[in-house]
């Protein structure tokens, strides 16, 4: 397996508080890795370390074998795209939102290109000139995914993108991500609270608790693991 991202003894502290503690592991190229764990486990922090929104306090992160700091921040963030949990939308049309990554590079996104990306996320052409603020939660999230894809990232980071959606939208987004993974051969790291979702979409899974990576491996094998912490987490979440 070729590593897309590698963590080597990575720690992250904020205000002298340890958020991530000695993380070691690899995200394999072209695969979907789900990140599971309770709130406060450090999952979002880990994701933001991957595209340079945060920097590790110690240790090293490698993006395709190169230290993360060898990349210009803007280049890194186009290469490793993130879809944020809150799916922030900028005021204006869906086109304006989709064109944002191009606008930031002083380029113009052709409308037919924008439509292509809209279609990729299951939205038709009629959405292009609609006001983004008028969209439903699921539609916003799809626009948000399409907007990140405009940069043609090699790694796609997804931060609980279905947590606020209804079951139909959750299913649509899951199918969409699986399709994107296959079509663009993009590496995906997907934070989810939902263990069932992690099982449905993940090739690999990382289980995190209190800033530590307590287990990682192939998703199917992981859930048969006898590790007491994992079993507790699985049963805790299932009970919830």
């Amino acid at each position: 397996m070729i590593p897309a991202i590698k963590f080597e003894n990575v720690c992250y502290e904020k205000d002298e508080l340890s958020i991530l503690n000695n993380i070691n592991g690899v995200f394999n190229k072209g695969k979907i890795t789900t990140l599971v764990g309770p709130s406060g486990a450090g999952k979002t922090t880990l994701l933001k370390l991957c595209n340079g929104l945060y920097s590790a306090t110690s240790g090293e992160i490698y993006i395709q074998d190169n230290p993360i700091h060898s990349y210009e921040p803007t280049t890194l963030r186009r290469k490793v795209g993130i879809v944020l949990q809150s799916a922030p939308i900028i005021r204006g049309t869906v086109y304006k939102n989709l064109a944002l990554p191009f606008t930031l590079q002083n380029k113009k996104l052709p409308e037919n290109e924008a439509i292509k990306f809209l279609n990729d996320v299951g939205l038709n052409e009629s959405f292009l000139h609609r006001q983004a603020e008028d969209l439903s939660g699921g539609q916003r999230q799809k626009v948000s995914i399409a907007r990140t894809l405009i940069n043609q990232p090699e790694v796609l980071l997804l931060d609980e993108i279905t947590s606020a959606l209804d079951p139909t939208s959750v299913n649509e987004i899951e199918q969409l991500i699986l399709k994107i993974n296959q079509k663009y051969d993009v590496t995906i790291i997907w934070i989810t609270h939902n263990i069932e979702q992690a099982k449905r979409v993940g090739d690999y899974t990382w289980v995190m608790m209190e800033g530590q990576l307590i287990e990682s491996g192939e998703t199917n094998i992981l859930w048969t693991n006898t590790n007491k912490l994992i079993q507790n987490f699985v049963s805790g979440v299932t009970e919830a």
Binding site: K14, D15, N51, G52, L53, Y54, S55, H69, P73, T74, T75, R77, R78, G81, I82, L84, S86, P88, I90, L100, P101, L104, Q105, R147, T148, N151
Partner: protein, 250 residues
Amino acid sequence: MSYTTLSLTLIFVLIPLVLSKSLKLDLEKDTIIATVRSIIQLLIVGYILKFVFETESIIYILLMITLMIVAATLNARKKGKAIKGITWKIALTLIVVEVVTQGILIGLHIIPATAQYIIPISGMLIGNSMVLSILFLNRFTAEVESSRDQIELVLSLGGTPKQAIHTQLTNAIKASMIPTIESQKTIGLVQLPGMMSGQIIGGADPVQAVQFQILIIFGLLTTAALSSIIVGFLSYPTLFNERMQIIKNV
């Protein structure tokens, strides 16, 4: 006006004191402190100005302007404590405002280069610049706090800090300039400006008083634009580190 006559104006202080006491507003202490401070400060300034006007020494003029800039900086910086180096940023802004406005006024012979003109006009423009800086810093820090998601979104898509903060920066610049522009729209209709009123009461020709007031309001427009834009563009880079990450706890 004699000091005995002036002392009768203390009735205007008594009215709010009585109201505060009877309505339990708890503003008596602050009102008394403000009254005492304004009497002492203004009397001292009055005597200092008299001395400076009589000597007409450039050193004393510069000293007075420096004093104004230092006092205005120390007052305005309280609102931007979270911004690194805010003291020198505000001081630099006030210096630029002073140099540009006085440069135009004196350079084009609009006013004579004497203490009588330079000091009061500097006071008004530096004072306005201080208020503008405070308004800007208040709004800017609030905008950054409430728009973290938006800022992070632009950064995450490969935007630079300048691109990420652009909306918040321009919103804060606009918001801080609007009061100056709006108040000028109704000037003379709703209120007669203090300086103009003072000149008229002092016996000056009303038309000449208006001419000086026009000079001031045009100066205030430049001051408003320069202050918020300079403080803004000096401040925003300190919200990010060298890896283009937004620094926490703005």
